[in-house]
């Protein structure tokens, strides 16, 4: 049954490898292709490749695939093609957590503040923030049957967050504001190998929870009452799916900032290309596709041979949104 997808999967895997190599080869400092390969294989040492570009490329893969998958999970769970980490306020939750740490630290003052603003406190705050918002959305969604209402509630959480952030920024210093705004641009390049390792561990945990949920996700395609009649423990499956999403989206936002667009668009691109809703096919496809798109976006953001690096957040939307529009117009109808 899956043979017709095999070639697409092989093609995407090769494309991922090529994008990965291209991403590492390109940058503000030009490194000869020969040296790129030799330092990747550990034959020679190139500081830029081994400690900057390689971790950045791996981060791009984790971020792209993780956001794509968490978007897919949300779209299936909430039965809504508009759902994604951002719409439901997971990322705004993370932003609020980070804002409280970076901007709010001024309110607590002095020594305490410098203690608070470490990389880890930002990561923890972002994860906690996203988890709490998702939990709130879930709580509300168990009371409200209407999925549209849930989305609006998610948007409301987003605006509450924005309001709290603007109140906090009013009382913050210029440096704190700058720090927060830079976090909001999104960045793939700031991770050390140690941080990347932690990121990777949580990511894997999120992916494992997702794989465990494949059967439940496919059952959800029938609708909730059918899922129940097939013996599915809906509450438990929901919780696992939401946990997976908040782990993936939360950690990614924590380490790389709120990356726009990927979570919403990658699942749609993948559905258009593979023309199925079967999660056994969609999940690996979204993984490959998200990673590829993220690597391409990051390569473009670097503006090869120039000294500038554009905010990754701008690139994902600039490149991605026209692609989604093109895909939908070409097929003339959306398959969900």
């Amino acid at each position: 049954m899956n043979t017709k997808y095999t070639y697409t999967f092989i093609f995407l895997s090769i494309l991922l490898l090529l994008c990965f190599l291209a991403n590492i080869s390109l940058g503000s400092v030009s490194v000869p292709t020969k040296e790129v390969f030799s330092s990747l294989l550990g034959i020679s040492d190139n500081y830029i490749i081994q400690n900057y570009r390689l971790p950045k490329a791996i981060t791009a893969i984790l971020v792209g695939s993780g956001l794509g998958i968490s978007g897919l999970l949300m779209q299936t769970l909430f039965r809504n093609p508009l759902a994604g980490p951002f719409v439901l306020g997971i990322s705004s939750g993370a932003s609020l957590g980070v804002a409280l740490v970076i901007l709010g630290s001024g309110l607590f003052g002095g020594v305490f503040a410098t203690l608070l603003i470490s990389k880890w406190s930002i990561v923890i705050a972002a994860s906690l923030g996203s988890f709490l918002v998702l939990l709130a959305v879930l709580l509300v969604s168990s009371k409200v049957r209407d999925t549209m209402a849930i989305l609006i509630i998610g948007l409301m959480f987003g605006s509450i967050t924005a309001a709290v952030v603007s109140v906090l920024s009013y009382f913050s210093s210029a440096e704190q504001l700058q720090q927060y705004i830079f976090w909001g641009f999104g960045s793939l390049g700031n991770l050390s190998w140690n941080e990347l390792f932690i990121f990777f561990c949580i990511y894997v945990f999120g992916i494992v929870l997702t794989i465990v949920s494949i059967k439940a996700l496919n059952t959800f395609l029938l609708g909730e009452n059918y899922a129940k009649s097939l013996g599915l423990n809906i509450k438990q499956s929901r919780l696992i799916i939401i946990l997976a999403t908040s782990l993936l989206a939360g950690t990614i936002t924590a380490f790389a900032g709120p990356i726009a667009f990927i979570g919403l668009a990658i699942p749609h691109m993948t559905r258009q290309l593979f023309n199925t809703s079967n999660h056994k096919i969609l999940l690996p496809a979204v993984f490959l596709f998200g990673a590829i798109v993220m690597l391409i976006c990051d390569s473009i953001a670097q503006i090869p041979t120039s000294d500038y690096t554009l905010p990754i957040n701008a690139i994902t939307s600039l490149i991605g949104a026209p692609v989604v529009i093109w895909l939908l117009v070409r097929k003339r109808k959306m398959t969900f």
Binding site: M1, T76, R79, I211, V212, I214, K215, N218, T219, F220, L221, L222, G223, N225, Y226, K228, S229, L230, G231, L232, N233, R271, N275, T276, S277, N278, K280, T335, F336
Partner: protein, 263 residues
């Protein structure tokens, strides 16, 4: 096994259905005593708002009974685990599918969920049961089509095949003939009659197609304002039960033809 032809699959005792809130309870119907036998096609009829859906929701354990007992295969319904129940009773509902971007085969295969492993891989046995369900519902030529390309009638057949693939003693369908044209209404109900005979499953459906149900069902459950009565269609006609279904100002029941006439 054939001598167990009168084997009772589902039985209610003084069942009372309705809605309970903190303040008060509203009873929709009570004193319901029905028995559903193995291999029978049973039609549930009644006017709009009389409580057919509430009864089905109660029998399928979506909603709790107010009072009384429901026995499924001689075991109390409330003692079933979710998985056990999924292996005993399958449903065809009126709700829209969330996604129709699945092939007919994939959708029917979802009926095997209670039996498959943690990722939902299909064994050879699963596949042969799915293919049998596809054959029994004459869907072989649509097997690889997407559900979003199907007509309402075809989709209803797919949903019935999915319920068959779930391999249960009892299949319950909530208004399987709504949105269908006259031919397909008859086609679906005729298919259900054939399936009940061939597979020896008990099939209960609610419907507004009283004329068709009278011709095709082994037993009918009729809900009126005063009572819930179940019997063979012939006996029900003789007892003049259908006359009490609706207000008498517009339509009347013709005993000879077994159908309703506009006055």
């Amino acid at each position: 096994m054939k001598e167990k032809n009168k084997h009772i699959i589902l039985k209610t005792e003084n069942l009372s259905i309705g809605y309970k809130s903190k303040k008060d309870t509203s009873v929709i119907a009570d004193n319901i005593n029905i028995e559903l036998n193995q291999g029978e096609l049973i039609g549930l009829v009644g006017a709009n708002g009389i409580g057919k859906s509430t009864l089905l929701r109660t029998l399928t354990s979506i909603q709790e009974p107010l009072d009384g007992n429901i026995h499924l295969n001689e075991k109390a319904l409330e003692n079933y685990s979710a998985i056990e129940l999924a292996k005993t009773m399958s449903l065809v509902l009126t709700e829209q599918l969330m996604s129709k971007n699945l092939s007919v085969f994939e959708l029917i295969a979802l009926g095997r969920q209670p039996y498959t492993n943690w990722v939902g891989n299909l064994s050879d046995n699963d596949i042969s049961i799915i293919n049998k369900a596809i054959e029994q519902t004459n869907l072989s030529n649509l097997k690889h089509r997407k559900c979003l390309e199907l007509s309402d009638g075809q989709l209803q057949k797919v949903m019935i095949a999915r319920a068959l693939a779930q391999d249960t003693n009892l299949i319950i369908l909530d208004e399987p003939t709504t949105h269908l044209d006259m031919y397909h209404k008859a086609y679906i109900l005729k298919l259900l009659q054939k399936l009940a005979k061939e597979t020896n499953k008990t099939i209960l459906f609610s419907s507004h197609e009283i004329d068709l149900a009278i011709q095709l069902c082994d037993t009918m459950v009729v809900m009126t304002n005063s009572q819930v009565i179940s019997d063979s269609p012939c006996n029900l006609i003789e007892k003049s039960v259908f006359e009490s279904l609706f207000p008498k100002d517009l339509i009347s029941f013709d005993k000879k033809t077994g159908s309703f006439r506009v006055k």
